[in-house]
Structures are given as structure tokens and as C-alpha cells.
Amino acid sequence: MISLRDVSKVYPGDVRAVDGLSLDVERGETVALLGASGCGKTTTLKLINRLVEATAGEIRVEGRDIRALDPVRLRRQIGYVFQGVGLFPHWSVGDNVAAVPRLLGWSEPRVRERVDALLDRVGLPPARFRDRRPAELSGGQRQRVGVARALAAEARLLLMDEPFGAVDPLTRDGLQQELVAMRAELDLTLVLVTHDVAEALLLGDRVAVLEAGRILQVGTPAELFARPAHATVERLLETPRRQADRLHALAHAADGVGDAPALRDAAGRVGSDAGATS
């Protein structure tokens, strides 16, 4: 579906945001790009829909070299979701979702039908949400509209940049579950940028760990756990592993006690613990 070959993005002053990176993403696969801020993961994502132009290397989407494509038409075929969402505040929710279909010149009845179906799909009943303004929505609802907008023109490829970074943990979990379900249902290919190790491991079929514009290692979560190829990768995986062990132990202890208040109490302590370590 996507292939990057020796791709570089060099900014004036020889700043190498992406440095000779190669990566293949198969159809229907989810690849998470994982790394600290400044590692080049967002730039890599934007190279794919030409929001950023590569300075060297070759990028193909569905076999076609994207340099040969009109960037505007390319972007209309690729869904894009990012942390800021960027809903158009002067348009209703329905108009936001309808943006790309209208750019593509769909007939109005078809647009309306598509908008309602998508709003339903992301859990926002169209009758209640279609005519609202983005300002009237919660952060999680806005992110859902962002996803609906990205998928509106039947995009099969979705680029997501920290899509759940700005929502509270409970909402994030819900959105992640829905994304997993939707991905399977719609046969989506997904490239997901995140700095959240757990999110990368839970959502990614494969995870690419980036540092200084290069890929340190690509593999399934299991492969990464089993054979970390680099000290950085090993260090990255340590935290979720420790947290998982701790959670496992707590859950076991809660099973022993067997009543709800204790479980709540334990969960609360996990939350504060996680806050302290991160």
C-alpha cells in the first residue's frame, strides 16, 4: 500500500528531520511510528500525503510515485487525523464531515447519506449532532468528527498523528477500541504516529521505533519484546512491561478480595503510580 525508499527530509541548515528512511506498509495493516518528540515521526507521516515534500528518496502509494500525482488530489484520497483535529469552526458538524465529498463533487443526496452513516458509525447520532457547531462538542466528540471527516470520501488509507493525545484516558480507551473495530470493518490501512508506547503496542500490527530521523527497529510488538535490536528500544519497552506486571499483580490481588470498592481503590493507585513514573 505504501512504500518509502531511502526517504530524507533536509531543512535549510542541514537539519535532517528524516534521514534515509525506508518502510513498507501492507494493505490492511496498522503501522505505529513510535519515538520521542523530534525523532521525525510526524514529518515521515506528512511526507506520505505531501504536506511536507521529501528532499530525497521515493514514496509510493498504491504503487504510484506520489511525486507524479497532484498533491491536492492525493490528499483527498488519504484520510488525515491529528491531535489538533482542526475542525472548521464556521461549519456545522455535518458540513465538516461533508468537506471532502463536496470537494470531490459528490451529489448532495449522496453526501447527506454518507455524512449520516459516518456520524452513526463514530457514535454521534446525526439527528442530534449534524447541525451542531464544533464549539458545542467535547474533546472526544470533536475527535470522532475528525475521524468521520477523514473517512468521508471512502479513504482506505488513514494517517493519524497523535489522534488521541488531547483526550482524557477513559475517552482515549473508548476511541482506541472503536478504531480497532472500525479498522477491521472498513479494511483500513493505518499509519499511526504516537509517543505513547502502550498505544503503539496495543494498536500497531507492527511498530517502527524512530530516533533522529532513522528507524531503529521495525517489528510486531512481540518481536520487539523478544528481540530488541537497540538499547533505546529496550528502554522504551521497559516502562509498559513494568506497568503491565504491576497491573497484573494488582488485578490478581483484587481477585482475592473480590469486592468492588477495593478494585476501584487499586485502580486509583495505579493511575497515580503511572503518573509518577512517566
Binding site: 488525515y80 482542526g86 469552526p89
Partner: protein, 556 residues
């Protein structure tokens, strides 16, 4: 301040107001229409942004009156066009700056989303940046509207009618009522326009299309109602093209223009006065057939147009000027009116006596200890250079005043001597002494009636105005000026009184058997104090004799 005076001014209000509305709204419309695409370009090309806003800023720093006046030579014409161009330029900065600031201030996440979903640059500009920056853009339009209304009052001197006509003529003729009326009209228009645009702003902010349309309809209705007087004028069938009478910016010119217009109307011609034109603007307008008739002064033409600085007799100045006007510009000098409005130096009678000054030579001897005041033009004019050199004057201080304030300045002792106009009514009123000019350094300034090429080709027009030649003496003119400047009568009243006086003396002459021939200059100018002028007007002004039209005029 009498009710009749208020009425006389109010009668003009609808016309001036309508012109003002048209000027402002059209200028604002064009200004906004030009600013938005330019702002769009500036948003997309940062390299273009600095220079564009820089140029707009520089335009803004040019004083409004100067910007308007500059348009006349640049465009080579007077009237609505130069006024509009200047107003458009003036209105653009706030719109441009706000549009650029607004578009650049749009949430970067929204712009990224717009790009990422595949909008083109144009689509981003029109569908995202423009609507999202609309409140800021509209705030800029509101600023521009208020500025433009204010600046439009300055378009009177370039020949565009506006509420400025009240203000300029009011200031010149010390008619406070007219000045206040002009200011109040402009303020009301500014507030009204601002209020309407604010309604648009609210409708846009509420994203309520129906309300926006309602406001737009209200706007059209308001503009339509306020400009109705113009439509009424336009729909009236014209009896030949209206005769446009020009006037410079001082009392005598306003009075004479009204007098001339009155005579034309009585002859069945349609006449309009375009008063308050700049001194050079009015001549260029006549040469370009944009106005038909106005009164100028032989010495002014001699110095400023013929570029002559040599001394000559009044007759030679007149003859050579007449020939030059005809040959060079096709302008017909119909004849001298009979009075002189000379530049002269004047001082308080008691002060002159105390210093022992009676003429310019005496003045020159005392000049190192004295301060001189002049109108805006005076010190830049060749006459001043000549007088200064002829007598060797070197004044301690030199100040420029508005000609209205000049007489008060010398009367109050702020300056010792001023450049007065010999026909000004305030010379007597303030008890000033006009100093003799033994070396004849000031050229003669006979008031002359000038007709454009087109006007000279209209016999009815020429016949209506020919009787004015050699009919107004110094006393009559000074009295008319005094009525306005000192006694506070309106221009119309002073012109009416002057007209009546002229008719009376014409009737007396007719009764005395002089009326069969055209009056000679000497006969009409008996008793004038000036030493100049011993000639007869040349006889091509009219086909001869008192015309039937003139007889009608007498009968009225």
C-alpha cells in the same frame, strides 16, 4: 442666526448629503473590492506583504487634502473622479491590514486540516481564511468607512460636491451654521454607516444568512433614500447642458458665482455652482471644459499663467492675457467686471500713523522691526517677490494664515501688516489702511469673466452674461463682500442684493439714454478708486445691444 438663514442652508442639505453618500459608498465599495484580493495575495506571498502594507501606510500618511489635490494633476481632471481615486486609496489601508492580520490569525490547526483534506490554496483562502477572519475584516471596513466619510468632506476643493461644501464655504464666509451643518451631516453619516456595518458584522458573527440579507436590504434602502435627490435631478429633462459656474475659495468668488448662476437661470438656462475650487484647479477645469464660466483676476493670470513678472499697464495686461487665453486654451475673456481685487499690503490705521507709514516705501524702511502675515499663497507668488525686491523689504517675521483669520490677526496686533485683498469688506470693517504702491510693483488685478470654449459657443449664455461686463465697481463689490464677511448675511442674500443694485443702476442708465449701447468700461466704473483701466471691452462678447433676455431680467 435667523431661521431664514437656517432654511437657506438646509435647502442644500439633501443634495450635498446625497453626493457625500455616493462618494463614500462607492469609494468604500471599490476600496474593499481591491483590498481583499490584494490581501489574499499578501497572505500567500510573504514577500509581497511588507511592500503592500508599506505603500498603503505611506498613502495614509499623506494629508488628506494633499492627497486629493495631488489627484487633479495626476489624472488631469477635476470632480468626482480624482476625489474617488483619492478616497479609494485612503480607504484601503485599514481593510488591507485587517484582512491580512485576520487571515494570518486563523488557527493553524484549521489551516493544516484544510490543506490535509485536499483544499487548494484558493479554496483555503475563500472557504476558510476569509470567513474565519470576517469579523476582523469587517472591523477594518468600519474603520475605513468612518475615515472615508471624514475625508470626503475634503473633496470640495477638487470639484466634487460633498458635505464639505458647507464646511469650506462656511469657513470662508464665517457662516458657523453652515460649518456645523456640514460637520453634523458627516458625523451622522459616519455613525449611520458604522451602525449598518456593525449589523452586518453581528449577522456574520451569528452566521445567520437571513439576518445578513435583511441588513443588506436595509443598507440598500438607506443608500437609495439618501441619494434620491440625485435621481430626481437626473430624471429631470435638461434644457441643454447645465452651465457650470466655478468659484475659488473666498467670499467674493462665492457671491459672484451665485450672481452669475442667477443671471443664467433668469435667461432660462440651467446653472449649477461648483464652488470652493482650488485656485489652479478652477483654471484647469475651465481649460478642460469641465466648468463653463468663472471669474479670475488679470494680475493672477498674468503672473501664474503667462508667467510674466514685468510691470505693465492694466490695459496691456488685459489685452495680452486675453490673446494668450484665446490662443493657448481657447478660453474667451468676456470682459472685465469693473472692479479690482488687488493684492495690497494693509495695516491698522492707528499703527500706520504712529509709525509714519503711508506707502510701501515707508513700510520697507521699517520692515526689519515688523512682522508680516499673508494667506497661504501669498509668499509663494511672484508678486510678493517683485514687491519685496522693488522696495527692499526684510521683515522680522513672516506668517501664513487662512485668509479669513488674517484680518483679525492684524487687527489684534499678532502681525503688523498683511497681504489684503483690495475688495475685501473687512478693510473698512477693521479700519485698515491700504498702503500705496508708488512703484507699481503689484500688477493690476481686474476681475475678468472667463468662458470655456464650449460656453463661448453658446449665444444665449454669452448674451446672459455680457451685461455683467463693466457693471460692478469697487464699492459695489466691497459692499457685497462686507455683507457676508462682516454683517453675516448668506451668500445667496448678498448675491441677490448685488444683483438688485446692478439692475437698479442699469435701469438708471437706460433711463438716462445710455442703455442703447453697451456700456463702456469707463461709464460703468465711474467712481472706482483704481488708477488702472482706460479701455472699452472688445465687442465680440455679444451680438450687440441689450438683448431681449436682459430686458426680461429687468422686468423681473
Amino acid at each position: 442666526m435667523s431661521l431664514s438663514k437656517l432654511h437657506a442652508e438646509l435647502v442644500r442639505f439633501p443634495d450635498y448629503f446625497a453626493h457625500h453618500v455616493v462618494l463614500t459608498v462607492v469609494a468604500l465599495g471599490i476600496g474593499v473590492a481591491l483590498s481583499l484580493p490584494l490581501a489574499g495575495l499578501a497572505v500567500r506571498r510573504p514577500g509581497f506583504r511588507g511592500p503592500l502594507l508599506g505603500v498603503a501606510g505611506v498613502v495614509q500618511t499623506v494629508p488628506g487634502l494633499a492627497l486629493l489635490a495631488l489627484m487633479v494633476p495626476l489624472l488631469g481632471r477635476i470632480g468626482v473622479v480624482p476625489a474617488l481615486v483619492a478616497l479609494v486609496l485612503y480607504s484601503m489601508l485599514p481593510v488591507l491590514r485587517n484582512a491580512v492580520t485576520g487571515a494570518l490569525g486563523v488557527d493553524p490547526d484549521v489551516l493544516e486540516a484544510a490543506r490535509a483534506i485536499g483544499m487548494t490554496d484558493d479554496q483555503i483562502l475563500l472557504r476558510v481564511q476569509l470567513p474565519l477572519s470576517a469579523p476582523v475584516v469587517i472591523a477594518g471596513v468600519r474603520t475605513a468607512a468612518v475615515w472615508t466619510v471624514g475625508m470626503a468632506t475634503l473633496s470640495t476643493p477638487v470639484g466634487a460636491t460633498s458635505l464639505g461644501n458647507f464646511i469650506f464655504s462656511g469657513l470662508q464666509t464665517q457662516n458657523t451654521l453652515a460649518v456645523l451643518l456640514g460637520c453634523a451631516g458627516a458625523a451622522a453619516l459616519a455613525l449611520g454607516l458604522d451602525g449598518l456595518i456593525r449589523l452586518v458584522e453581528r449577522a456574520v458573527a451569528a452566521r445567520d444568512a437571513r439576518r445578513a440579507w435583511a441588513v443588506a436590504a436595509l443598507f440598500v434602502l438607506a443608500v437609495g433614500l439618501s441619494t434620491a435627490p440625485l435621481l430626481a435631478v437626473a430624471s429631470r429633462p435638461p434644457a441643454g447642458p447645465p452651465v457650470v459656474v466655478g468659484a475659488k475659495t473666498f467670499t467674493e468668488q462665492y457671491v459672484l458665482a451665485e450672481l452669475i448662476a442667477g443671471r443664467l437661470r433668469r435667461s432660462g438656462l440651467e446653472a449649477r455652482v461648483r464652488a470652493g475650487l482650488g485656485s489652479s484647479v478652477v483654471f484647469d477645469a475651465l481649460a478642460a471644459d469641465e466648468i463653463d464660466v468663472y471669474v479670475d483676476y488679470s494680475g493672477t493670470l498674468w503672473a501664474n499663467r503667462l508667467q510674466r513678472s514685468d510691470a505693465a499697464s492694466a490695459r496691456r495686461v488685459l489685452d495680452e492675457t486675453r490673446r494668450w487665453l484665446e490662443d493657448r486654451h481657447g478660453i474667451r475673456l468676456l470682459g472685465p467686471l469693473g472692479f479690482e481685487n488687488a493684492y495690497a499690503l494693509a495695516m491698522r490705521r492707528d499703527r500706520a500713523r504712529a509709525l509714519g507709514i503711508t506707502n510701501l516705501a515707508d513700510l520697507a524702511a521699517r520692515s526689519p522691526a515688523l512682522a508680516i502675515g499673508g494667506d497661504y499663497e501669498f509668499f509663494a507668488r511672484p508678486e510678493w517677490t517683485r514687491v519685496r525686491e522693488a522696495y527692499g523689504m526684510r521683515f522680522r517675521d513672516r506668517r501664513s494664515f487662512d485668509s479669513t483669520l488674517m484680518y483679525g490677526a492684524v487687527a489684534d496686533g499678532h502681525v503688523d501688516v498683511i497681504s489684503a485683498f483690495s475688495s475685501d469688506g473687512r478693510i473698512d470693517a477693521f479700519d485698515l489702511l491700504v498702503l500705496d504702491d508708488p512703484r507699481r510693483a503689484f500688477p493690476p488685478y481686474d476681475a475678468v469673466l472667463l468662458l470655456s470654449r464650449a460656453a463661448a459657443a453658446r449665444p444665449a449664455l454669452v448674451a446672459a452674461l455680457a451685461p455683467l461686463v463693466a457693471s460692478i465697481d469697487d464699492t459695489a463689490m466691497r459692499r457685497a463682500n462686507r455683507r457676508v464677511d462682516v454683517e453675516g448675511l448668506s451668500i445667496g442674500e448678498a448675491a441677490g442684493a448685488l444683483d438688485a443694485a446692478l439692475e437698479r443702476s442699469a435701469n438708471r442708465e437706460q433711463a438716462a439714454g445710455l442703455g442703447r449701447d453697451r456700456p463702456t468700461f469707463e461709464s460703468a466704473a465711474t467712481g472706482r478708486a483704481s488708477p488702472h483701466g482706460r479701455w472699452e471691452p472688445q465687442g465680440r462678447a455679444s451680438s450687440g445691444g441689450r438683448s431681449p433676455l436682459e430686458a426680461n431680467g429687468v422686468a423681473e
